[in-house]
């Protein structure tokens, strides 16, 4: 069936102190018809990869405010590839300096969403770019 909901993991890797933004996004994507697996704060890259594998998600959305994205994101992308999940779309949201975006994209990130991005923009991007589903 092609009309089943898109499944997305919203994860907060690292040591961020709050997850308001991630929860608002999770709720917003729910309202856009996505099935959103939400895993909470302080995830290790291994936890994110395990959750993505077991849940067979179409998309991994990482929310990072702490500035540790250049360490965490490439590690997560590497683990996803090692698990055979290279076809899963990876996006990043949070506070990401423009200068870091090319390096993240080289690591395997498809899109980076900064402050001010609307839920509708994110949902539209995810619908257009999630892997073709079986």
């Amino acid at each position: 069936m092609t009309d089943r909901p898109i499944k997305v993991l919203i994860a907060k890797p690292g040591l961020d102190g709050h997850d308001r933004g991630a929860k608002v996004l999770a709720r917003g994507l729910r309202d856009e018809g996505f099935e959103v697996v939400y895993t909470g704060l302080r995830q290790t890259p291994e936890m994110v990869a395990t959750a993505a594998l077991q849940e067979d998600v179409d998309i991994v959305g990482l929310s990072i405010l702490s500035g540790a994205h250049m360490t965490l994101v490439p590690r997560i992308c590497q683990l996803l590839k090692a698990e055979g999940l290279a076809d899963v779309l990876v996006t990043v949201g949070g506070i990401i300096p423009d200068d870091d975006v090319p390096a993240l994209q080289a690591a395997g990130v498809s899109a980076v969403f900064g402050p001010g991005t609307t839920i509708a923009e994110v949902a539209g991007y995810l619908r257009a770019n999630a892997r073709p589903r079986e």
Partner: protein, 324 residues
Amino acid sequence: MRSPAGVAAELCSTALAGDRRSLAKLLTAVENRTPVAEAALRTLYPLAGRAHLLGITGPPGAGKSTLVAALVGELRSAGRTVAVVAVDPSSPITGGAILGDRVRMQAYAGDRDVFIRSMAARGHAGGLASTTGAACAVLDAVGFEIVMIETVGTGQSEVEVAAAADTTVVLEAPEMGDEVQAIKAGLLEVADLVVVNKGDRPGAQRAASQLRAMLGGGRGGLHGPPVMITTAATGAGVPELLVAIDRRRAEGALRDDGAARLARAEAEVRGALADRIGRRLDEAGSATAREAAVRDVAAHRIDPYTAADELLAGLVGVEAGSRR
């Protein structure tokens, strides 16, 4: 484009060999009720039936996910393998869902003998998704010793888990109601074990005594189901609960729980039948007749039973025709 049977055969053989990604893909196919899933279940269903299917149910916020996580920890320290199917509700408006049960179950990344899968109920009303039973059969077939089924947060009558599980644990929290709540029909009647969680809160002992007093004398026997107290967040009472769960399993094996298995099989067959009929109605050809019937009922030209009979007669005709 490979055939569904070919895809299923490959996924089954790798999943049975221990590949977790293939297992995850099979579960997705089952959730989406694809032809791959049907082909895979033909292979896997005969291999299932060995796991202990353990249902965990109770109202929202009673601590189901926390208790499941604590039980997983207890099982893993005993070297037992465990899978969890955690169901959360789907939006009746958009079909979207927040699957949040993993928040409490994060300590097991990297442990391949724990497999946790979230499922959206997708409009099914009994506390589970319509495909939860099939998902459990897949996890059972690939060899998990215990498969826990965590329901959506339930009200009083979402009792489907009792048919899907070998053992049903009903969770209550302190201060959830009085003795009259305890004798109402529904969820508490299907409990094999009743657990008052948040045992460190005031009122836990009192709630447990009230439940013990009121649940005896029914189908659970003179004394009713055991009522235990846990504090899942600290782990207090969880080892004792697991002992009670295992005892229940051992007793079930002794007293030939054939009736329970038949009831589960019947629920599965009826579910599959309802699903098949629903799909036929959505197929081209039937959809027009269905829409016409729905319009007639909405306008009160015919009643719903007549409409259903007519649609069913049409489906049987289509089926008989296709067989010739």
